[in-house]
Symmetry: C2
Subunit: 334 residues, 2 copies
Amino acid sequence: MKRITINDIAKELNVTPSTVSRALAGNTRVSVKTRELVTQKAKELGYQQNVIAASLRKGKSDTIGMIVPRINRHFFSNVISGVEEILNPAGYTLVIVQSGENLIKEKKAIDMLLANHVGGIILSLSVQTNTYQHIETVINRGIPLVQFDRVNLDIKSSKVLNDNFTGAYLATKHLIKSGYQRIAHLGGARSLKAYDERFKGYSKAIEESGRLIEDALVYENAITREAGYKAINQVMERANPDAVFCAGDYSALGVLDALKEKNLKIPEEFGVVGFANEPFSELIHPTLSTVEQNAFEMGTRVATAMIKNLEGKHYEEEEVIPTRLIVRDSSWKK
Amino acid sequence: MKRITINDIAKELNVTPSTVSRALAGNTRVSVKTRELVTQKAKELGYQQNVIAASLRKGKSDTIGMIVPRINRHFFSNVISGVEEILNPAGYTLVIVQSGENLIKEKKAIDMLLANHVGGIILSLSVQTNTYQHIETVINRGIPLVQFDRVNLDIKSSKVLNDNFTGAYLATKHLIKSGYQRIAHLGGARSLKAYDERFKGYSKAIEESGRLIEDALVYENAITREAGYKAINQVMERANPDAVFCAGDYSALGVLDALKEKNLKIPEEFGVVGFANEPFSELIHPTLSTVEQNAFEMGTRVATAMIKNLEGKHYEEEEVIPTRLIVRDSSWKK
DNA sequence: TTGAAAGCGCTAACAT
DNA sequence: ATGTTAGCGCTTTCAA
């Protein structure tokens, strides 16, 4: 079962491959008649362009590489959907690779994508990433880069970010308004800007209310359910909180575990707000107040930025996607 | 910033590109010394193979295409992880495309992958798919195909399936043993084998217990939360069930909504078992009994089957991955 | 408006 | 053990 090439079409029509190539590309320097003839014959023979050959010749491809820490996270899989929504209709193909939150795998992923001559790379850094030469390589090769969510600000590229600061600020302010007095914060690794911003949003709200940031109320690096459970227990022992803003829904889950164990009433005796609006957050009991990140929209913006880069070059805007507080049963206090 | 090619290496070393190519491929017909020289120079110059050129020349590539209905489903994203786990270390690259449960997008995805000359295609059919020429095309092109989960049995290819039948059988049997009398079933589209098998497993267990399959207790095509809610309300009106086996966790969620609305005690007055072990199933209240599908393992098996196809050709085994009943609070009755 | 010719970077048959 | 040569399928100058 040999594949049909432009040469086959050329022979059948007694023209040259060049003409066929041009006709197929819709080049107006080919007569309308010939173009029609070619298109029709192509369809008749079941011709399909050999993208590989084309991109070898052109030195670039319409394949875009995307590196994410994990594909099975609600946030990332929705960003991916958003990216595809824009990229596919525009004629681009998306290759997705997982770094698994691992620097070495991230480097390999970039190597692989470069070896495959992708037209551009979309990247969200792994937690581990603390060295950036592999990313500079992308820039140096002149390949468009769009960073999102977990970005490195020093690297020159388009960036699409969540408004983590405002999300955290609103969440904390909401806890304050609800009447909670001693509001704790379970954060993530502050080396990542996303988590640092959430901490800053928390701090701003606390300070605005005329209170002090107490170190004893803040716990860094607790983003899993287990870590959240342990962290809140420690904070409760040392700082007597009556509410907590968690930098992630999973740690909030751990907090709920601990509170139930202690038979504390939620939200009457203790308020909880998470971050990310994971699907489970509205399914658990009590339903979890949280911050929505608009992952899908982020994806569409990322893709749009990539296309601009691909077309015009040197589009280095930094976009911020708004976040939105969702108040549910874990924090609303009459 | 020009890329280093084998020609550059060849010139520097005063050998021919062929030698470099062979050396890089580890061909033993090149002297050990030359091989070392080449490898070192390649590293020195920062050489990176141009995969595009290689695969144009070889007429095939190490890129494997994978088409799934949705990437943001727990099951599929975990299958993907499993596939990557095997494929990446083996030197293959995975391109993931979503069909969005849409036949037209599925066709386009296949076209795209074929145009990109992928070495093989991994596929799980969309719900809509009822025509199969586009898949035959893959076979006719001689490109290895591995189907998983949502497969078409008439198409000749490797297949990896869940043991839906046994999962459903065990789930239903568990409800029977727990003492429930009138066990309903909310199923999916029976045109998909997966859902048909679940229905059959349910039927077998019911019959074995000496009861009859009552049409009024069975509801087809309810796999979302909303559909589950509506379906169970209808079934309760017409057939007086005291338990239900749902073909999916989402419909089970809808069932729980309805039961809570009616103030029925779970599991005392009504038992529920779902299917898929979605992450939320152990987070909701009551925790949901369900059937685990071992998505990750399925992925590793799929990848292994693909590699066998890639190497030996015509490996058309049909593998079945065991499922496992997980009993939680929604069904255990003392 | 079309053709001729070259070449993207690599591999593989066929020498030597 | 290495070199020569040809060509994968396409695009793109340059020429006509």
